[in-house]
């Protein structure tokens, strides 16, 4: 029997994995009693609920058809996430100018139409403009340059 990768099946599997993990990890917190709840009581309740809704979804996916998962566009996904990630890694080390430029360039790489000159101008222009708004306009304590 061929298992269709329906959205219900995948969502259900995700809920079970997350709920199961939370129950296992959360078992280190004291449960307590209903009158004196420990730190683990409520998380256990909701992660059990989450696991249960995951089971319902998985079971249902075998009986009724749901949409199959659409193709994933890897290019935007990878480049956008990489850009934001790089921003987070660079902001404290090199300052806003460098982090911003890297983010914009990575973001533009997510698009198939890519022009080097345009991207360079956009990266510098956008970073300087947003820096003017956030740092000078709103007075946020972020370093523009850092070496």
């Amino acid at each position: 029997m061929k298992v269709r990768l329906s959205t219900d099946l995948l969502t259900g599997a995700l809920f079970i994995a997350l709920g199961g993990f939370a129950m296992a990890y959360g078992s280190r917190y004291a449960l307590g009693t209903a009158a004196r709840m420990g730190a683990g009581y409520f998380p256990m309740l909701i992660s059990a609920g989450l696991t249960l809704s995951g089971v319902v979804l998985v079971v249902r996916s075998f009986f009724s058809a749901s949409d199959e998962i659409a193709a994933i566009g890897w290019r935007p996904l990878v480049f956008v996430l990489a850009g934001v990630l790089a921003f987070g890694l660079l902001i404290d080390r090199l300052g806003l100018l460098a982090a911003g430029i890297v983010l914009v360039v990575a973001a533009r790489l997510a698009d198939r139409e890519f022009s080097l000159v345009e991207t360079a101008l956009l990266a510098i222009g956008l970073t300087v403009c947003t820096a003017a708004v956030f740092l000078n306009g709103l007075g946020l304590p972020i370093k523009f340059l850092r070496f």
């Binding site: 959205t7 219900d8 995948l10 969502t11 809920f15 997350l18 709920g19 939370a22 959360g26 917190y29 004291a30 209903a34 009158a35 004196r36 709840m37 420990g38 730190a39 683990g40 409520f42 909701i46 992660s47 609920g49 989450l50 809704s53 995951g54 319902v56 979804l57 249902r60 749901s66 949409d67 998962i69 659409a70 935007p76 956008v80 996430l81 850009g83 990630l85 921003f87 987070g88 890694l89 902001i91 806003l96 982090a99 911003g100 983010l103 914009v104 973001a107 533009r108 997510a110 698009d111 139409e113 956009l122 990266a123 956008l126 947003t130 956030f134 709103l138 007075g139 946020l140 972020i142």
Partner: protein, 502 residues
Amino acid sequence: MDVLANLGLGFSVALAPMNLLYGFLGVLLGTMIGVLPGLGPVATISILLPFTFSLQPQAALIMLAGIYYGAQYGGSTTAILVNLPGESSSVVTAMDGHQMARQGKAGLALATAALASFMAGTFATLVIALAAPSLAEVALQFGPADYFSLMVFGLVGAVILAHGSVVKAIGMILVGMLLGVIGIDVNTSVPRFTFGIPQFGDGIDFAVIAMGIFGIGETILNLERTGTARAYVQAVKNLWPAPHELRAMVPPACRGTLLGSALGVLPGGGPVLASFSAYALEKRISREPERFGKGAIEGVAGPEAANNGAAQTSFIPLLTLGLPANAVMALMIGALMMHGLHPGPQLMRDKPELFWGLVASMWTGNLMLVVLNLPLVGMWAKLLTLPYRFLYPAILLICAIGVYSINNSALDVLVATVFGFVGYLLYRLNCEPAPLLLGFILGPLIEENLRRALVISQGDPSVFVRRPISCTFLVLTAVLLVVLAAPMIRSNRERVFREGGS
């Protein structure tokens, strides 16, 4: 008259020059971002949140509310001109509004949307002023058990009105609640699910989650969609409607106002439900239903009035009960908490100038929207012709700086990256992310009230049915669940959404 005195106090706050300025800025920025295709109010508010962090609570709240109306109106502008509705409440506007634009009546459609929204905004402001005090009075008598049941009721309501699968929506709420657990438990001082990272002790900021899912995640999704729609920009002229056109738009706007204001108060209600229902209503009572979908002015006036009315009255449960009815209100409650304010019945009693200032600013905000948009609509239309390849890097940059600026924490940016991925994944799995945000906001409150109620009753769970208020909410919740299970009503609900979506 109490109401007049209260509104007087409110207007003295709302009309203070600085507050007017922040309201204006909010409406302007909200429209500017909201007009961009693919960005609805939730995404717009998430992206613009950091602009309000450094303000006083009063000004921040007024600005946020302004951003909300602006985003809503911006979404309608896009729906009419490009047929690319930013979010689901504008889907309905696109059906007839875009047809009007194709027939060269874009100006009339935009004016109809603006005037109908203003009318509904004025009415809904009065509804809030009249209804909120008595509701807050009642809410002051709520005990922990009552609050617990109220919030369960609110969450179940949100599930029912979410599109798509109910089980998925319940799961999303639970995921949100689980995320809300992260941090040091207030009762036992045990750090929960922090994985040894000290910064997680205070929990994850809701703004990091919102910007990750709605700012970054939606941008990735928008990038996948290829093909650009043509904007009917050149057709924008003749904004002011002729007398016979005004006559045609007033009755549907009135009906939409009443329907929307009523539906906005419901948990899980709000603009989306209101605009779909208003469209269905107009189509049903029309003598020529075949005109709908081909540029009927009623199909713009009714839903636009309804969604603005609902946008406004959904503040009622938030401000009087502390219960966010939808994702936008969850963002509002989160923003209030960042300023150290806890929405609920005490807010009106302890900070009347804040409460009434916000109410009055709703009206001034709506007025600004009309004044701003009728002359500026040409500029918004130009913004629509900007290529997306210039816009999305700017959106990502604003999100990244915004996330970093909350705590000056690079770790927050990394967490937001993760939520960007999560957001993208959820869209791909056809899971609405809005219930996650509601669960995240309400989770800690539900836990707190559950604990307190059971401490008071010494562990006896019957307290939830013995207290009349709590019992009422639980009965209502049960009724909602039965309604949900009834196949007839379920297919009806799907039909309403499908009619709108097609």
